[in-house]
């Protein structure tokens, strides 16, 4: 089975995410009325295969697999999938999987593009605990932001249905909108704390000769993302910004993060050593 690489495992994982997404469309069409585990187990199978893919790659590299865009993206998706499986165990949060699956599938397809996974040259040295902490916390923060965006999307759908008096709002087995807003805020806060820790540890890492932090696109992009999330949290918690605007902000910011993450990573000399 040596021909069966970690990428094959990841491909299978993405196939399960795809099945979960298809099943999610069915659940959406049925108005999220059936309280069942099928989608959860489809996603769980995907995450299990995804974990195997990451272990296999990690064992091959003998380090944490976050050395190129493919590995960083799969790590991000794995954190998102795992957090979704855990949160789905909360009462009335089983449908979180239905909202997460489309993100896992579409970004998973993107990650499978061969150009994102070139053969490794010099690998980052993760024996430095600060470097490991930097990589792990940043990627976990993306996972938390992703899940916050999923909860925010659930909120927006449910709020729209309640506003426009759609029966689906009552028939669906989704949590109350107040609970969805609370979960969105908490996950955003968790993501923000992890992101801050990641940025602080990153700033303490030895800088390669000739590279300036403030001219690196990834560093500037990260600072921008940090400021955007800070603004979202402060406006909501201290200035009473409406829940709708807050949740739209969380969704749009994560979409922007997903769309620009790869580009900034590609042009960052600090992250392509």
């Amino acid at each position: 089975m040596s021909w069966f690489t970690d990428r094959h495992f990841f491909l299978l994982a993405v196939a399960f995410y795809g099945l979960s997404m298809l099943y999610s469309v069915f659940l959406w069409r049925k108005g999220f009325r059936r309280d069942e585990w099928v989608n959860y187990f489809l996603l769980a199978a995907g995450v299990a295969l995804h974990t195997l893919a990451m272990i296999k790659r990690g064992l091959t590299l003998q380090s944490c697999p976050v050395n190129n865009l493919y590995e960083a993206t799969t790590f991000l998706l794995w954190a998102l999938g795992l957090a979704c499986l855990i949160y789905s165990l909360l009462p009335r949060f089983k449908f979180l999987a239905a909202f997460t699956a489309p993100v896992l599938f579409t970004v998973g397809i993107f990650a499978l593009m061969p150009s994102l996974d070139p053969p490794h040259g010099l690998k980052p040295d993760f024996s430095n605990w600060l470097r490991s902490l930097h990589a792990a916390t940043i990627l976990q923060s993306y996972g938390a932001f992703g899940l916050a965006a999923v909860a925010a999307a659930m909120f927006l759908m449910q709020q729209h249905d309640l506003k426009f008096h759609k029966l689906r709002a009552l028939l669906s087995l989704l949590p109350s909108i107040q609970r969805l807003e609370l979960i969105t805020l908490r996950l955003t806060l968790v993501g923000f704390i992890l992101f801050t820790v990641g940025l602080v540890t990153g700033s303490q890492l030895p800088r390669p000769a000739g590279d300036a932090y403030l001219s690196d696109p990834k560093v500037l992009w990260s600072a921008l993302m940090w400021l955007v999330y800070l603004e979202l949290i402060v406006a909501r918690v201290f200035f009473g910004r409406s829940t709708r605007r807050f949740t739209i902000g969380v969704v749009l910011t994560f979409v922007f993060l997903l769309l620009t993450f790869g580009i900034t990573n590609h042009f960052s000399s600090l992250h392509n050593q």
């Binding site: 029966l167 028939l171 009473g240």
Partner: protein, 340 residues
């Protein structure tokens, strides 16, 4: 020996006739004893509610003879001197058992899927059992009916959703707020429907209720009944900072709450979600307020539409329930054999 049923219900007869044939609880044991003494039935149970009067019997007579005798008994017992036609229905096996299962499951009720009938049927059976008017056949039939009703309740959507305006309002509140125990309710106008809605919310955990009315005495009386407090009618906007659910049912000829009035109140509330239930006709609340962020406005038509949609969903489930009942009745006749 077979199980037969004879009766009249909301489907076949008007309320005037149903009340004419109703059995008072205290008279049922005597009626059952008379029925058995007459030889028409060896086992019997009488179900008498506001929507139906039914006699279930295990009889040694042929079904057609039993129907005629039971009808005579019913007419004689209530000293009814007019002619009865289609108002009375009767079923022999297996339809008698199918009917019993449908009644227990709420499929034959005025509000499909309601659960009150289950308790009423159980009480009727227990009364007959306590006076030793049931035996092997009726015991088996009724116990199976209760099991089937429970199965239908869990396996289908027949009892899902709110089929009244009040319960629809409660369900909406539970879709907006995590826990009703943490939220306060303001009742504007102490009408009957607003009182019932407030009580329904109270039964689901709402702790604090504030009542306001143009007549302070009426407000104080309702507040006392609900265990809440009354506030002067002029001051109700001040309550908006604290409350999260408002039920309005005043007799005002124009809107008492519009967008211009609510906007500053929402700022004072720091944009917390607000559920407005307007059950007044003409409406108390300007529909334009629903466009405000975190405001959810439902008027009486919206709530009635939810209740109607739920009722339609229940009706769609009836075929599924009837299939289950047909299977259960067939199983009762084959594997366990009712007559053994």
């Amino acid at each position: 020996m077979s199980v037969v049923v004879i009766g009249l219900s909301h489907r076949t007869s008007p309320v005037e006739l149903r009340e004419r044939f109703a059995f008072a609880d205290e008279k049922i044991p005597g009626a059952l004893a008379a029925l058995r003494a007459s030889g028409i039935a060896s086992e019997a149970t009488i179900l008498s509610t506001c929507n139906r009067v039914e006699i279930y019997t295990a009889t040694p007579l042929a079904p057609e003879t039993a129907f005629a005798e039971l009808k005579k008994f019913l007419v004689a017992h209530h000293a009814y001197d007019k002619t009865l036609g289609d108002e009375i229905y009767s079923f022999a096996e297996p339809h008698s058992l199918q009917h019993l299962f449908k009644v227990a499951s709420g499929l034959d009720s005025m509000v499909i899927g309601e659960t009150e009938i289950f308790g009423q049927l159980k009480s009727a059976y227990e009364l007959a059992l306590a006076h030793q008017h049931t035996g092997v056949r009726l015991n088996k039939a009724f116990q199976r009916a209760f099991n089937v009703a429970k199965h239908i309740r869990t396996a289908t959507n027949i009892q899902r959703g709110s089929v009244s305006v009040m319960s629809a309002a409660v369900e909406l509140a539970e879709k907006i707020f995590s826990s009703l125990a943490e939220h306060e309710v303001l009742v504007i106008g102490a009408g009957e429907t607003s009182e019932k809605t407030a009580r329904a919310l109270q039964s689901r955990g709402v702790k604090k209720i504030t009542v306001t009315n143009r007549s302070p005495e009426r407000a104080a009386a309702l507040a006392a009944e609900l265990g809440g407090r009354a506030v002067p009618f002029e001051n109700w906007p001040d309550e908006f900072e604290r409350i999260d659910i408002a039920i309005s049912s005043t007799a005002a000829p124009q809107h008492i709450l519009d967008r211009a009035k609510l906007e500053p109140l929402m700022k004072r509330r720091k944009n917390r979600p607000l559920l407005l239930i307007d059950i007044a006709v003409p409406r108390d609340i300007d529909p334009a307020v629903n466009a405000l962020d975190n405001v959810y406005l439902y008027n009486v038509d919206d709530l009635q539409s939810i209740a109607d949609d739920y009722l339609n969903l229940r009706k769609e489930e009836v075929a599924h329930c009837e299939k289950i009942i047909a299977e259960k009745v067939a199983a009762l006749f084959s594997a366990t054999d009712l007559h053994r």
